[in-house]
Symmetry: D2
Amino acid sequence: MTEPAIVLGANQYGKAEVRVVKLTRDTARHEIDDLNVTSQLRGDFTAAHLAGENAHVVPTDTQKNTIFAFARDGIGALEAFLLRLADHFTGSFEWVSGGRWEAERFDWERIRTGSAEHDHGFVRSGREVRTALVVADGDERHVLGGLRGLTVLKSTDSGFVGYPKDRYTTLPETTDRILATEVTARWRYGVGRADVDYDRTYSSVRGVLLEAFADGYSPGLQATLFEMGSRVLEHHSEIAEIRFSMPNKHHFLVDLSPFGLDNPNEVFFAADRPYGLIEAAVVREGDATPAAAWDGVAGFC
Amino acid sequence: MTEPAIVLGANQYGKAEVRVVKLTRDTARHEIDDLNVTSQLRGDFTAAHLAGENAHVVPTDTQKNTIFAFARDGIGALEAFLLRLADHFTGSFEWVSGGRWEAERFDWERIRTGSAEHDHGFVRSGREVRTALVVADGDERHVLGGLRGLTVLKSTDSGFVGYPKDRYTTLPETTDRILATEVTARWRYGVGRADVDYDRTYSSVRGVLLEAFADGYSPGLQATLFEMGSRVLEHHSEIAEIRFSMPNKHHFLVDLSPFGLDNPNEVFFAADRPYGLIEAAVVREGDATPAAAWDGVAGFC
Amino acid sequence: MTEPAIVLGANQYGKAEVRVVKLTRDTARHEIDDLNVTSQLRGDFTAAHLAGENAHVVPTDTQKNTIFAFARDGIGALEAFLLRLADHFTGSFEWVSGGRWEAERFDWERIRTGSAEHDHGFVRSGREVRTALVVADGDERHVLGGLRGLTVLKSTDSGFVGYPKDRYTTLPETTDRILATEVTARWRYGVGRADVDYDRTYSSVRGVLLEAFADGYSPGLQATLFEMGSRVLEHHSEIAEIRFSMPNKHHFLVDLSPFGLDNPNEVFFAADRPYGLIEAAVVREGDATPAAAWDGVAGFC
Amino acid sequence: MTEPAIVLGANQYGKAEVRVVKLTRDTARHEIDDLNVTSQLRGDFTAAHLAGENAHVVPTDTQKNTIFAFARDGIGALEAFLLRLADHFTGSFEWVSGGRWEAERFDWERIRTGSAEHDHGFVRSGREVRTALVVADGDERHVLGGLRGLTVLKSTDSGFVGYPKDRYTTLPETTDRILATEVTARWRYGVGRADVDYDRTYSSVRGVLLEAFADGYSPGLQATLFEMGSRVLEHHSEIAEIRFSMPNKHHFLVDLSPFGLDNPNEVFFAADRPYGLIEAAVVREGDATPAAAWDGVAGFC
């Protein structure tokens, strides 16, 4: 029997982590866009892999140059910037049938001097990082907004009871614990929603996530995750789906009794590893999740 | 028209990065297994998400305990250890229909004192990290070996020419450059290959990857990647597929002419970001890649 | 000639990076203190080093326990918490003649729900990290406040001209560039200033640093550093000295002319490495900087 | 009473983390030097700080260029390369009275193909990083070799007993535990030892450190540290002093008894934080440690 041939499977390539800072200096009051952009192309690159023929290989250096050149015209919403890149690359090279374009955006605040905001002095906010992802698959465009590094904690109104016990279970039940997580989320915009105000939606989603996390009693991080996701879908008809990766950042109550002290849920040890890891998608019933939209996404979301 | 209901989509949860160190002390010559293990369950967890009912939620703490308890019986091959965990969880809880179990292994060498290897003194090798991943999907088991952090460089016999030029291209062609990358790879074992010696295969694959990288002239990182992958498949019939994520770690020739010096490919600046990123699967023709095997894998591989 | 004996030199030991989270739950409106504390003892530990006799070695585990126990009584100002630890250890063990106690504090903001601040829901601010250091040297106490990770940028009003040129100089002069740095600073409180409101001073110093960075034209990062430091000393008589470690985070103007585009200081590449590194102390004339205060400080400040 | 003037204190500046890769291609068998170099100048820089006059400010960009240009002539021993930089900067600019030059060196091994070592294919070893530091103070040169990231572990022959117990002590005594640390060390060469073979000494010191760590019973990390240091001084008369910063990387025995299992020192949890931190200098009696040599050293060593 002949062995089957060895062939090229799925593939993509490009330039990762292009750190672009774009100033807008039209007036004395400057604006700043601080981005980390990754561009990856998909299409017919078989000859490059099998024969070392690079006639189809748009250099990653060219992809980087294009990102800088496109920034000259302004960034606008992160998602819109990536859509322009997607259209350029798929429109300029016939063998490029798709790709993925990803960006992070770092947030800056104006420095205040006295009661005034400074025109051109900024301090990095350190808040969560906004993310965006555009996947092009032929003529289709999947647009995903997102964030990472949104670290939240509730100091009460959280518990965990009613779970199955087996030979390996030692965890005691509790109805009052610290619940803390660092939210990574991506939400997929419905196809054909060209009218979306991505910046406004981002700001709204962030607020909804924070409120849903803080509100009410949490019987478990899974329930909190679903509450966060479903509220986002309720408020935003333009969003078809949202996915989360949420570590359970454990805070262990310290036993102070050897020192003659009580500890009424006041002193905790914040552990690094291991951590719980809760991941889920919240979707609209009947919605066909396009596999391409999530293909190549780092981790679960 | 009624809005469609908001429902739970794909989900998984567990305990991540359990740092287990297992000593074998049967004789004076100790052995050490140093692991970082992640366990995630899939199945019917709808009630936990929608109603906060945890009757199905095997605690992540229990998953951690189980990992430690199973380590008591010895680790063996990384992949085999994960298979035992997979069988335990899917076999013990009827609503657990699958999951993913992942591990990293850190390599230690014996300290040498004079001409002898020490019995219980070790130094961490710092070599690449070996990885393993088992995905259970009902009765199916997908087993993936892998590595990350294998950083390689060739100081000549590498070039990049013949690529398309457009308005944004400034990269000059070259037939002599440094080629450097940090290999992340995962290879999928064919289903039903229970007889595999995972440790021996790991060692062999590592050697094949290094040889294929070093050998011959590289016309581009894509061609080198495919050569590495195809050689692995040629040597290892038990492997169905191999995937790579390989950054092109750029080394830029420094222009020393302002200082009256030539630079015949000797002095380079090693850049951090941006970097090229080349990702591809090398497969056997006709092989049906099981989506579940790669679902939830961080990045491309 | 006899070789001189080999003896123990300077030494210290303790527990590093104790991650304490202290809640205050006296009312429904909770407070959170999120700290990373390091305790190190100095004194007579010769027998432990030379003879393996541990009679003087207060275990690092005990130091950790003490930090948790002291947290039970509340944290208060970071500096005051460290002073209590210093007094405890030097007062409890006669052979402990001094030591250093260091802390970082992570800042949380209350989640807003509608127009209200939540009672027990928090989001990590991500702002700079506040630091504190207490060095005990016999009866002396050196108290240092500080911060790290205060990343600032001015998009104009910065230049660099008039520097010496030699054979290796290729940098062009400029009177309009981006100036960006990530401020690490430590300020030493004058000895015997027991009445200091450390929290209020921290907040004020932060504001002064931001204003001084943003104000006016910067002829170089050295001049900006000195302006920042001297303003702090002018506003705060309780501070004897301030030290800075400030990387010059380079933003390089991208040459867009190959693409037929101009670039009037709008599109920049933000580089990782190398970076400039400017470090200096700003002091009061005649002040004798106590070496002990800075001994063992990581880097310049 | 007049306030004392605000003046400039200690200061230094330069370019940090210049990533130089130097190939030697004289024959078909290439050599590679992979370095991370930092250059900082000290001297009269008052006008730059107080008046924004940069006539003395040798640009950090020029310092970077000089590093690349000097690499053209070959690196040689790390310490010798830094001494050449020190002599250049202090000799070229009369107001530069000293400075500090620091480097890290990353180790590469040749890829083996069959039984042969490859001529120009390399794999990064991942071993500890070699470090070097030269401090120039007028005509004096302090030369320090070193390493970081040498992670070692002994699986028995280590205990901790006989320590003082107080109210906050809960640690049980043990005569069999895992001892693990990640060694950072710097050793200072005696002044005027121009004949030192730095590369050979590095290799020898590394071997001595490993042997001293592994040999015999450790009654505590302090005793082990001193044994390591004193052996280095015994074997190397050219070394005047050695300093260590050694975290005690805790491995906690897991209690498996709830699962009906014993645990005879076989299964451990490797903790991240907190960790013990043991720091000390081992010196020759009567040797006057020059403060300048350690000034500005990150941490204790």
